[in-house]
């Protein structure tokens, strides 16, 4: 069966709280199993390399950090209309374009996802080392549960794994 719902974690695992998105994927994979048609991916900070993952997919659920008013660790939910609401600005490097560019390109190509949900956490200050801040670490399981609730709403109910433990992901292991 083709993938109809993609769950994607975005962020850099080497830069403190930016690892939030990959952490949410790690938590989902550790604590639940998923029905056919649902895929989970940690894509790092892909810029326009997001495109193939958004093409011909009905629904995309993203976990990422978001810039918003509030304290570190607070969660926000956005839909496609909200993500696309504000215009793009002149870009300097290939990192600047991301989700909005990819979605708009696919709208023009008529191969974009019908539904996009972004589950975001407000990060603490950027820090060039591995490891989430306590506030953002505490938001990982709640964010994973929000993703699970979205999947249930979409009729793709994840099953909790028995005796599952959320371990440390590879990038966070002690040297």
């Amino acid at each position: 069966m083709d993938t109809v719902i993609r769950v994607i974690g975005l962020g850099n695992v080497l830069v403190g709280d930016d690892a939030f998105g990959p952490w949410v994927i790690h938590a989902l994979e550790s604590l639940w199993t998923f029905p056919p048609g649902v895929s989970l991916e940690d894509l790092g900070t892909p810029g326009l390399d997001l495109l193939p993952y958004l093409t011909d997919t009905a629904t995309v659920i993203l976990a990422d950090t978001v810039r918003a008013d509030g304290s570190a660790g607070e969660l926000r939910r956005y839909d496609k209309a909200q993500i696309l609401a504000n215009p793009l600005q002149p870009r300097v490097s290939p990192h600047d374009p991301g989700l909005k560019d990819a979605l708009l390109s696919l709208e023009l190509e008529e191969r974009g996802p019908r539904e996009v949900i972004l589950v975001g956490a407000i990060p603490g200050p950027a820090r060039y080392d591995v490891g989430l801040s306590p506030a953002v670490r505490a938001a990982v399981e709640p964010a994973a549960r929000l993703v699970v609730a979205e999947l249930e709403r979409l009729g793709a109910r994840p099953q909790p794994r028995e005796r599952a433990v959320l371990g440390t992901p590879w990038w966070d292991l002690e040297v």
């Binding site: 695992v13 900070t45 193939p52 093409t55 909200q82 990192h95 991301g98 709208e107 060039y128 990038w171």
Partner: protein, 566 residues
């Protein structure tokens, strides 16, 4: 009176490229390039197992994952003096080719074409006229009246629905835009087709690398692609033929669409074949090794001083002493302690941040130098070095391109036009065609080698006690990338990455000599200081990749980048 213009992407984090220019009499008089990201990311590697380094380095940058993985395993293999099996070399080469092709197509169509293409003007185009122009340039099946009419209609629908946001990062209606409406329509049509071809070439990386971004198939000593031509779970004939047909399809797009479009832009904006020259010391490292140890290559490397192609000095092998001994980094104008010049094996990362000071420290990027001089790296360096060394595929594609662009421009263009803003775009398209040819050659080499019964993919690395040092290089889409490692008793003692965009985007050095971005901007025209399209044109021509770090969605805010003219 001189005006100061700052182009500064404002985000929550300090992770981007900032350009400051002083404009006087409609021209750039002086320029400063500032990377706004601390480079201490390499410190994370200290104390780790060298066999794990590539997993971490490919997370340096979300767009350049593959290249940092490759340079890292090559660095460790160089430190251990470890050759890898031929199959491993060819599989890596195929991944590198596919990654480079993908990067170049995306850069032209999706990241920089809007500097020259006015999308809104395409709505005034006559699709029949567009078809007759396009058919005169190429046999591409997508170039026909019905296809162009459909694209125009789609675009009109987008505009009517107020959805032009996709192109709102372009400066349509800017006085520096010159293409005819029909040519703009052709470009928009190819923009859409390029979306499909970049996906196809990315599939090659996914099939061989298991995943992209962030390939999973590397190992110090080789690759982890088990080969059994009859087994569905391994690299087999079916997967190899899938790779081959993807390579063939994308090759046609490069030759019949990408190269032609760049030639049209070059012929239509002849002044940009003279602006943007800057530093004419060029450096490219050899790549696509043909043996396990990296002593013979399909892409040559070398150094050109002051634009003199006759004096090209080759870089010939992994571990090349000329390259190894020439590289240093200086921190006089970078936010690190002191004013030292250090070799990467001794490199330090001790931050000393102050405000932006155009006369003092103003960037997180160090100033890399080769034998004390700034060097331009990237496809232009690659193509010029190949041409100077009479590399046959390079000579072939340079000649074809120059002939095509000359025909469109109805004037005889010489090789000297390559030292320019549009010359860098041209070189990238030429390099893409060269690599496309070579990707098919390396597919044949791989299949030929497997057919002989060789299915070896990995040589076991042995880590002796004591200290070893090594470096790995890769001619990445943006140019010469090198990783430098010091290993002590099997653990990483020091690690430095000297990345292509730091060669090009680096600041002034201890002698006040400017870096390539800075040099290339001086003399560029600027028609409107509050819409400095011309500055972006030159900076984009390098394919900058500076924000090697972070991903934060900015849903509520409106500012990704701001332009300030003072």
């Amino acid at each position: 009176m001189a005006q100061w213009v700052t182009i500064d992407p404002i985000t929550r984090i300090e992770g981007h490229l900032r350009i400051d220019v002083e404009v006087d009499g409609g021209r750039v008089r002086n320029a400063w390039s500032s990377g706004q990201m601390f480079r201490g990311i390499e410190k994370i590697l200290i104390g780790r197992d060298p066999r794990d380094a590539w997993l971490f380095t490919q997370r340096f940058c979300g767009v350049c994952t593959t290249v940092h993985a490759i340079a890292s395993v090559r660095a460790v293999e160089n430190a251990l003096n470890l050759a890898i099996p031929l199959n491993a070399q060819y599989i890596r080469n195929l991944i590198l080719c596919a990654h480079a092709i993908h990067d170049h197509i995306v850069h032209f169509y999706h990241l920089s074409a809007l500097d020259f293409v006015d999308v809104v003007s395409a709505l005034k185009a006559d699709p029949a006229k567009a078809a007759s122009i396009a058919e005169g340039l190429s046999n591409w099946p997508g170039n026909n009246r019905a296809a162009f009419a459909a694209v125009k209609e789609k675009l009109q629908g987008f505009v009517d629905a107020g959805q032009l946001g996709i192109f709102s990062n372009g400066y349509w209606g800017h006085p520096a835009m010159k293409l005819a409406p029909e040519v703009n329509l052709i470009a928009v049509s190819h923009y859409l087709e390029a979306l499909e071809y970049q996906r196809r070439i990315n599939q090659v990386v996914a099939v061989l690398g298991s995943k992209t971004p962030n390939i999973q198939n590397l190992a110090v000593g080789g690759v982890a692609n088990a080969i059994n031509l009859d087994n569905m779970a391994t690299l087999n004939m079916q997967k190899l033929y899938q790779v081959k047909s993807l390579l063939d399809e994308v090759k046609a797009f490069i030759e019949q669409v990408y190269l032609v479009d760049v030639a049209v832009v070059a012929a239509s904006y002849p002044e940009w074949l003279s602006y943007g020259k800057g530093v004419t010391n060029y450096m490219a490292v050899p790549d696509l090794p043909l043996d396990g140890a990296g002593t013979q290559f399909d892409l040559p490397g070398g150094v050109i001083w002051g634009g003199d192609l006759t004096g090209v000095k080759p870089i010939t092998k992994f571990g090349d002493e000329y390259f190894r001994d020439g590289v240093t980094e200086n921190v006089t104008h970078a936010w690190y302690a002191g004013t030292d010049t250090k070799h990467p094996f001794e490199g330090e990362t001790n931050p000393a941040y102050s405000d932006f000071d155009a006369k003092g420290k103003y960037s997180w990027i160090k100033a890399p130098r080769f034998q004390g001089k700034p060097m331009q790296v990237g496809p232009l360096a690659d193509v010029l070095v190949g041409y100077a060394l009479k590399h046959a595929p390079t000579v072939k594609w340079v000649s074809k391109f120059v002939e095509m662009a000359s025909g469109i421009a109805r004037t005889r263009l010489g090789l000297d036009v390559m030292h320019s803003t549009l010359g860098r775009h041209a070189a990238r398209a030429i390099r893409c065609a060269i690599i496309s040819d070579l990707s098919i050659r390396h597919w044949e080499l791989l299949v030929g080698n497997i057919s002989k019964g060789d299915v070896t993919i990995w040589n076991k690395p042995e880590f002796p006690s004591g200290e070893q040092q090594g470096f790995g290089f890769h001619e990445a889409p943006r140019g010469a990338l090198s990783h430098w490692i010091v290993i002590r008793d099997g653990k990483i003692k020091n690690y430095q990455a000297v990345v292509p965009s730091t060669w090009n985007a680096g600041p002034r050095d201890e002698n006040g000599e400017v870096g390539p971005y800075e040099a290339s901007l001086v003399g560029n025209p600027v028609a409107k200081a509050d819409a400095p399209l011309e500055v972006l044109r030159t900076v984009h021509s390098f394919d900058p990749c500076i924000a090697c770090a972070i991903h934060t969605q900015d849903v509520d805010g409106t500012s990704i980048a701001t332009v300030k003219a003072l």
